[in-house]
């Protein structure tokens, strides 16, 4: 989860998110250099040091065609690399279905046992001391850590979006359609996210909580949940 007034990303909890953070740093540097160049040219213009002799010459036409093309290539290549990396076939260890409703999520673990449960936000008035407002849920999504998890996301009524920033996951939940995403939780922990597609009055009040634990803990949890 984010600190108050946090501007940057949360720490990455999956390899894909680490790659995305690196790419974001790279893209931000490109953007910074472009802005610096524009600011410099603006200063030249405002102090009347840039003349039409400069901008009407033939050589500069070449420069301001080649340079933007190079910038675009510098952005496109890392971006495509990560895009294809996210789409790799990775033989998931567990498949999980996330179904969006107004205004809660329901999850189905149907690989081994028939485990289905709903995940509602805990109202602010019912929060125990020290818990996170608008983020806590009654039933978390528990997954084994360091295992490739496939999530199939869909919706029951209107558009929703299943997003967990620290795992680098955001997938739209569309009624009548199955969208697939995958992640790998690198470390144990609790990762929070919120519905990311406007879906009505309580769109801000249907969070997602993913808890990654060692495999043994996951197995005892799933046994306990199935028996309830």
């Amino acid at each position: 989860m984010a600190n108050h007034s946090q501007l940057t990303f949360q720490d990455a909890s999956s390899p894909v998110m680490e790659e995305l953070m690196g790419f974001h740093d790279h893209a931000l540097m490109v953007a910074l250099s472009i802005c610096s160049l524009v600011l410099y040219l603006l200063t030249l213009m405002l102090t009347e040091k840039l003349t039409s002799n400069t901008v009407n010459a033939q050589a500069i036409e070449l420069v301001w065609t080649i340079l933007p093309a190079m910038v675009l290539i510098m952005l496109a290549l890392p971006s495509l690399r990560i895009l294809y990396m996210m789409d790799e076939i990775n033989e998931p260890d567990l498949t999980l279905k996330a179904i969006g409703h107004q205004w809660y999520w329901s999850y189905e673990y149907t690989d081994l046992k028939d485990l289905t449960f709903d995940s509602y936000m805990i109202p602010t008035t019912d929060l125990p001391l020290g818990h996170f407002r608008l983020l806590e849920v009654d039933h978390r999504v528990v997954v084994p850590m360091s295992s490739s998890i496939r999530v199939i996301v869909t919706a029951d009524d209107v558009l929703h979006s299943w997003a967990v920033p620290s795992l680098g996951v955001k997938t739209d939940a569309i009624p009548g359609r199955l969208n697939q995403t995958s992640f790998l939780a690198s470390r144990p922990g609790v990762f929070y996210g919120q519905c990311s597609e406007i879906c009505g009055a309580n769109h801000s009040f249907m969070p997602i909580v993913v808890e990654s634990t060692p495999l043994a803990n996951f197995e005892s949890w799933s046994t306990l949940m199935s028996s309830q």
């Binding site: 989860m1 600190n3 946090q6 949360q10 720490d11 990455a12 602010t124 929060l127 001391l129 020290g130 818990h131 996170f132 407002r133 620290s166 470390r187 922990g189 609790v190």
Partner: protein, 181 residues
């Protein structure tokens, strides 16, 4: 008085650029002292470029000292007295050719004061609006913003190892039970 001055600096700006320039000290007939340019006689104003030198001065050509025999005697050619330079021929020829000297042309204006004043004014206005709405409009903050709740919440975040790489948990020293220095 101040309000009318502000209007003259800002209001006329929205009408014409030349009026705006005049408000900040440019323009006018500042460059043409000693030479009258008028088509009617008597009124001063900015002379259009095509009329420079077109209308002869009504006072006739300037008086010049005439020496039948030139010498290097300094007393023969007295230096300019105060005000004589502006009346001398080279200066008048310069003024015929050029509307302003380099110094007058490159002179700065006081426009920055108007701009800075306007920016600060609107910043202040925004601040007043924000203070007003905080006082009169906003509901009180939820109980989860109390100091007791925030410290319990921070402790829970540290126990859960939230953002342990570079975030909040990375700033906490678990051995000494205090924030890292």
């Amino acid at each position: 008085m101040l309000a009318s001055r502000v209007f003259s600096l800002v209001g006329r700006r929205s009408i014409s650029t030349s009026l705006c320039l005049r408000a900040h000290g440019h323009g006018g007939s500042g460059g043409r002292r000693g030479i009258k340019h008028s088509l009617e006689g008597g009124s001063t104003g900015i002379c259009p470029g095509w009329a420079v030198g077109a209308v002869p001065s009504q006072e006739g050509p300037p008086e010049l000292l005439f020496f039948p025999q030139l010498s290097l005697d300094p007393w023969q050619c007295p230096g300019p007295e105060l005000g004589e330079w502006e009346a001398s021929l080279p200066w008048q020829v310069y003024r015929i050719k050029f509307n302003e000297t380099y110094a007058e042309m490159n002179k700065g204006t006081n426009e920055w004061k108007t701009i800075l004043g306007g920016v600060l004014f609107f910043l202040g206005l925004t601040g007043i609006i924000l203070i007003w709405q905080k006082h009169f409009m906003y509901a009180p903050a939820p109980h989860t913003f109390s100091d007791e709740w925030l410290s319990a919440q921070t402790k829970r975040m540290l126990d859960m190892r939230v953002n342990p790489v570079q975030g909040i948990t990375a700033q906490w020293d678990f051995d000494k039970n205090e924030w890292k220095k």
